[in-house]
Amino acid sequence: MAGLELLSDQGYRLDGRKATELRKVQARTSVFAQADGSAYLEQGNTKALAVVYGPHETRGSRSKSLHDRAVINCQFSMATFSTAERKRRPHGDRKSSEMSLHLKQTFEAAVLTELYPRSQIDIYVKILQADGGNYSACVNAATLALVDAGIPMRDYVCACTAGFVEDTPLADLCHAEESGGGTSLALALLPRSGNIALLQMDARLHQDHLDALIEAAMTACKGLSKVLDDVVRQHLEEVSVLTRD
């Protein structure tokens, strides 16, 4: 029994994409009426829902608030039905906490927090179906939700995963490709300036390959940013049409 062939000779991956092609991305904003901002994003079969509240007064202990900036509070969780086997512990396990921390760091880089001293912005993300690229989908969904909530940001934050199979970088890995044991790198990028908000990799990679991999991830993120841009503009137009009449 041979393992799955991640890249065929003709250049096609398991699901028929070429090495640099992204999965189908669909998104909608303002799905939640109660929240300040919300968005639902599908990247292939990975579905993420992001909800933003704020800026509001710091909840809990007053000491957590910063005198000159807003505090960004993120919580990441996966639905128990999101993976192939039912997840026993959706919150509070180590991976979720680590993801939450990464999201927080990513958005602290992008949101103009100086405008809201002593307040708190909450971002809640939930994965409804996990098929690889969880972190990327979260970041993209949260970006849309923040834009929807009207919180000022420097730029979009787009994220994408990239992997390596025998000298070819692959963009946007699905679950089978991630768990195949190869390297996988997650990159969160501010596309217009090309600044990297977060770069994460849990594998062993030789130095020579790193540049190619980052290049591939950056190109993928820029492609993704176009899609997100279209969604936002479309939504703005819809809303303006409605309110104008």
């Binding site: 041979a2 065929s8 003709q10 189908k24 079969n45 086997e85």
Partner: protein, 950 residues
């Protein structure tokens, strides 16, 4: 367009998983044909005029084979005549799933540009993707996908080529599929009728593999093997412990016996004996089988009988009498081994075999028996029309299947190698049988060689130590052109000695990853046959640029020690360097220089210093328990005109051999330590596991027969007892004992330090060891060079070097190649020995008994360093009385008892009755036993021999 593939899988724990995967359909998959105007393919593969001379399809056409055709008829598809074939992705994936070797071969065929094979990704093409209908099985769905793709191709080509004479032909053997395809409007043929229609090339028909349904005619009537169990039963049997899984190894000497080595560790039973054709149940050497153990009462001992399957005709009746031969001897309960029978085959490991055709008695018959050169493979029945042409030739045959009512497996002819007995052919057979890559280096590989004239550049000099002033010399066998190593020794001002070992810097020329490197890694080692050498790296490097020839500047990798006069190492340093060897000496020349007291030049002083130190080092090693074993190595003197061997000579070891060896060992150990310190996870090392005590049984018994004790608890104990094991008036005894000891040893292997924890080298009594000193002829040394270069910051790493899994699989390949090279070398020596004796006629020599068996004795002739068997049971003579005692072991023939190490006199001749297995026949002269021994032959007139010499 996005579709989704959903299927349900069972997990190992018994749960159920639903897997959902995306499946994208594309519009940009081209058809690959030169002719097509619609597809914007930049590099179309399929040709416009795709004509093969066939009386069925006289128009240009492309072939589409289905899965079973691809799996079974791979030999035909690999033939150069078959071109312009479309391999569908569905078919390719199924092949990958079912048979990895066929998958590899079809991929190689696809890569060959001249064959114009195109892979069409039909699963992702929007128009040819189909979903499984409810109630349709997976196989039916795949067949339907193949039909839909073929139809699409037919329509697409007709639409987009004007004229539209280019057609598509589907090849399938499945009747149902064929009918449906015809209904669908496709041109479809069965593989057999298509191949037979290729009137221009009838030899393709021979390559047709016979399929199970077609084999109704080719079966015997009597013999029935028990049915093999289906895979599901086997798996459940293994799970609940009723059946055992293992690899089947046939017994080379006895075709009715075999052993299955059980894979699982920690089991008390790791070998199961199988005796008798019924119990062997069609298992072929190296298949993975499932065995069922017999209850203890039915366990038998391995037979010490030597049996060959010599039956001239393809009949089944022989089997019963041979079974009786085995059962005749009452089992000795102490050596009973677990016995069982094969109930099913899990995986077949068939490959094409070399051998010869034994023609059938019937002249017009097309079915013949093929006897493989490898004695562990059973004979194969093939169907061919060219029997007359193939009579005296060496051919290659592949096995197709073994139906349960057939005495022999069925197969088909693949290739003709040449006349049997002919030196070229035999060498070719030898190399093929031992899987030694020996084709000439491809242009791609040669393109990475440096351009001549080559010289050392300024940049090279900058990063290297300049040691050209040192008095370096090399000592090698006569006629050696690939000089790997050179040594020097000189006195320092502080009274210590500086000793240097300089090894050819091959890693400078062979950069990682390129075609030259990959080819060398695949070959693994240089194979030295008698009179021929299969190089691992092209000759430009091995004999010229890398070889440390005298009086030329060469790049080297040096290991320099500062030692005191007592051979204790004070400092070690490694550096890349440039040297200028002052002399390339042979062992004999070097010895002469050392011994000649009148010579006092630098080279001689250096040699004397090295010699002295070497002796001290050797003494120290022996104290630690290093073993000095013997093997009867033999060298041939090849006649320069006929290239036939004139004389055999045993290799003599001089002091200088030992001197070079000591320093090479020291270098290897120093380098091993250094690379392990630097890279604990991925250092390539060599280990020699200590043998299990049971391996020593034969040695202990042999020594006991002369009332001597051998202690095997540690290497030192063994070395000491071997040194003390002498018998008065029998000087050769010690050598014989050492030869036996060699047979008890395990094989030394390469391994990756991150994957193993036991590093000990038993034979050299060293805690760590590697190969560093021969990069020209061993690939492992090149890897060690690269690691050492990184360790001293003379080079950079690359990904594969640091990956311990890749290194581990590289080690496995190197070990395999090394083993095969050794077997090939031995086989080459055996072949040349036979050639030598054929020319000589019958000669008589003295020898010693090495092993005693139930019906034969195995004799070692020290003069020629070869072994032969004296059988006591011959077909045409009445058998003498035989009594075998396994304690001694001794064999009593009539009145005389043979013990191990008895001296005998025998005649040596070549039995050329079987061209394929020409055997050295030995017959007993002394001790004289009536009815058994043969008289002393007339000695050859000396005059004849003289003529040969000139």
């Amino acid at each position: 367009m996005l579709k989704s593939k959903t299927f349900v899988k069972k997990t190992r724990a018994g749960g159920v998983l639903k897997i959902v995967r995306e499946h994208y359909l594309r519009d940009d998959i081209w058809c690959g044909s030169e002719v097509c105007k619609e597809c914007k393919d930049e590099a179309p593969v399929l040709q416009e005029d795709a004509c093969i001379e066939s009386n069925l399809c006289s128009y240009p056409h492309y072939l589409i084979p289905d899965t079973n055709v691809l799996l079974h008829q791979i030999d035909i598809l690999e033939h150069t005549l078959i071109r312009n074939v479309i391999i569908l992705q569905t078919v390719l994936q199924e092949v990958r799933h079912r048979s990895a070797p066929v998958y590899k071969r079809i991929k190689d065929a696809i890569h060959e540009k001249e064959k114009h094979f195109y892979t069409f990704t039909n699963e992702h093409h929007r128009e040819t993707f189909i979903e499984r209908e409810p109630g349709e099985s997976a196989n039916d769905r795949n067949d339907r996908a193949i039909r839909v793709a073929a139809k699409w191709y037919a329509d697409h080509l007709t639409k987009n080529t004007n004229g539209g004479s280019l057609k598509v032909v589907l090849l399938t053997d499945d009747r149902a599929n064929k009918e449906k395809a015809e209904q669908y409007g496709l041109t479809v043929y069965r593989c057999e009728e298509y191949i037979k229609s290729l009137i221009g090339n009838p030899e393709l028909v021979d390559r047709l593999a016979l399929k199970p349904d077609d084999q109704n005619e080719i079966i015997g009537s009597k013999l029935l093997f028990p049915e093999h169990l289906p895979l599901s039963r086997i798996q459940s049997g293994i799970k609940n412990g009723g059946l055992l899984q293992g690899t089947f190894h046939a017994n080379r000497d006895n075709y009715l016996e075999g052993t299955v080595f059980i894979n699982r560790e920690g089991e008390d039973i790791n070998e199961v004996l199988l005796q008798g054709l019924q119990n062997l149940n069609r298992a072929v050497h190296q298949d993975v089988v499932a065995v069922e153990l017999f209850p203890k009462e039915r366990w038998v001992a391995p037979s010490s009988v030597v049996l060959q399957d010599d039956s001239p005709n393809d009949e089944d009746a022989e089997e019963d009498e041979t079974e009786n031969k085995l059962k005749g001897v009452p089992p000795d309960s102490s050596v009973l081994k677990p016995t069982g029978r094969v109930v099913g085959v899990i995986k077949r490991n068939w490959r094409p075999y070399c051998g010869m055709l034994s023609q059938s008695m019937i002249k017009e018959a097309t079915r013949h028996l093929f006897t493989p050169a490898d004695r562990r493979i059973p004979r194969i029945r093939i169907e061919t029309r060219q029997a007359a042409n193939l009579a005296g030739q060496r051919i290659m045959v592949a096995i197709d299947g073994w139906p349960k009512n057939s005495r022999y497996p069925n197969g088909h002819f693949v290739k003709n190698l040449g006349t049997a007995g002919d030196k070229e052919t035999e060498t070719e057979v030898l190399l093929l049988e031992h899987d030694v890559p020996h084709l000439p280096f491809s242009p791609a590989v040669l393109s990475f060689l440096p351009k001549m004239p080559w010289s050392i550049t300024e940049e090279d000099m900058k990063v290297r130590a300049d040691l050209r002033h040192l008095c370096v010399c090399s000592v090698d066998p006569p006629g050696c052109t690939d000089i790997d190593d050179a040594l020097h020794c000189r006195e320092l001002e502080n009274g210590n000695l500086e000793v240097g070992v300089h090894i050819a810097d091959v890693s400078h020329f062979i950069r990682p990853g390129n075609a030259l490197d990959q080819e060398a890694a695949s070959r693994g080692t240089t194979v030295y046959l008698c009179g021929k050498r299969i190089d691992m790296v092209p000759e430009l490097l091995s004999s010229n640029l890398c070889s440390l020839r005298s009086n030329v500047e060469r790049l080297a990798f040096s290991c320099i020690w500062e030692m005191n006069h007592n051979a204790e190492i004070i400092k070690t340093r490694f550096t890349k360097s440039v040297i200028n060897s002052k002399a390339s000496l042979t062992y004999a020349e070097a010895q002469m220089k050392i011994d000649d007291t009148t010579m006092n030049d630098d080279i001689t002083k250096s040699l004397r210093g090295l010699n002295r130190l070497a002796k001290i080092l050797k003494g120290r090693r022996t104290e630690k328990g290093a073993l000095t074993l013997s093997s009867p190595e033999v060298r041939f003197h090849i006649d320069s005109e006929t290239h036939d061997p004139i004389d055999l000579q045993t290799k003599e070891l001089k002091e200088t051999n030992s001197m070079v060896e000591e320093f090479m060992l020291l270098a290897n150990i120093s380098v091993a330590q250094k690379i392990y310190d630097e890279f604990s996870e991925c250092a390539l090392l060599r280990k020699h596991p200590s043998p299990p005590p049971s391996n020593y049984d034969i040695l202990i018994k042999a020594a006991k027969s002369k009332d001597l004790d051998i202690h095997t608890d540690s290497a030192k104990a063994l070395a000491d007892s071997l040194n003390n094991a002498t018998v008065r008036n029998f000087p050769y005894f010690n050598t014989l004992l050492r030869i036996l000891a060699t047979r008890c040893m395990m094989q030394a292997v390469y391994f990756c330090s991150g994957m193993d924890s036991d590093f000990h080298h038993y034979g050299l009594a060293s805690p760590i060891y590697t190969h560093f000193t021969s990069p020209i002829r061993r690939y492992a040394d090149i890897i060690v060079h690269r690691l050492l270069a990184v360790a001293i910051n003379a080079d950079s790493t690359y990904p594969e070097l640091m990956d311990k899994h890749k290194q581990s699989s590289l080690c496995n390949n190197l070990n395999y190649r090394h083993k095969m090279a050794q077997y090939a070398q031995r086989a080459s020596v055996a072949f040349h020995t036979q050639l030598f004796f054929k020319n000589k006629g019958i000669i008589n020599e003295e020898g010693f008994i090495l092993f005693v068996r139930k019906n034969a004795i195995i004799i070692l002739i020290p003069k020629f360093g070869m072994e032969g068997t004296v059988f006591f049971e011959n077909k045409d003579k009445p058998s003498p009385r035989l009594k075998f005692d396994s304690e001694g072991p001794t064999l009593e023939v009539e009145e005389h008892t043979f013990h191990m190490f008895d001296k005998v006199k025998v005649t040596i001749s070549v039995d050329a009755s079987n061209i394929q297995h020409q055997r050295i026949r030995m017959a007993l002269i002394e001790p004289v036993i009536p009815g058994v021994s043969v008289p002393v032959p007339e000695s050859e007139p000396v005059a004849k021999k003289a003529k040969l010499d000139c």
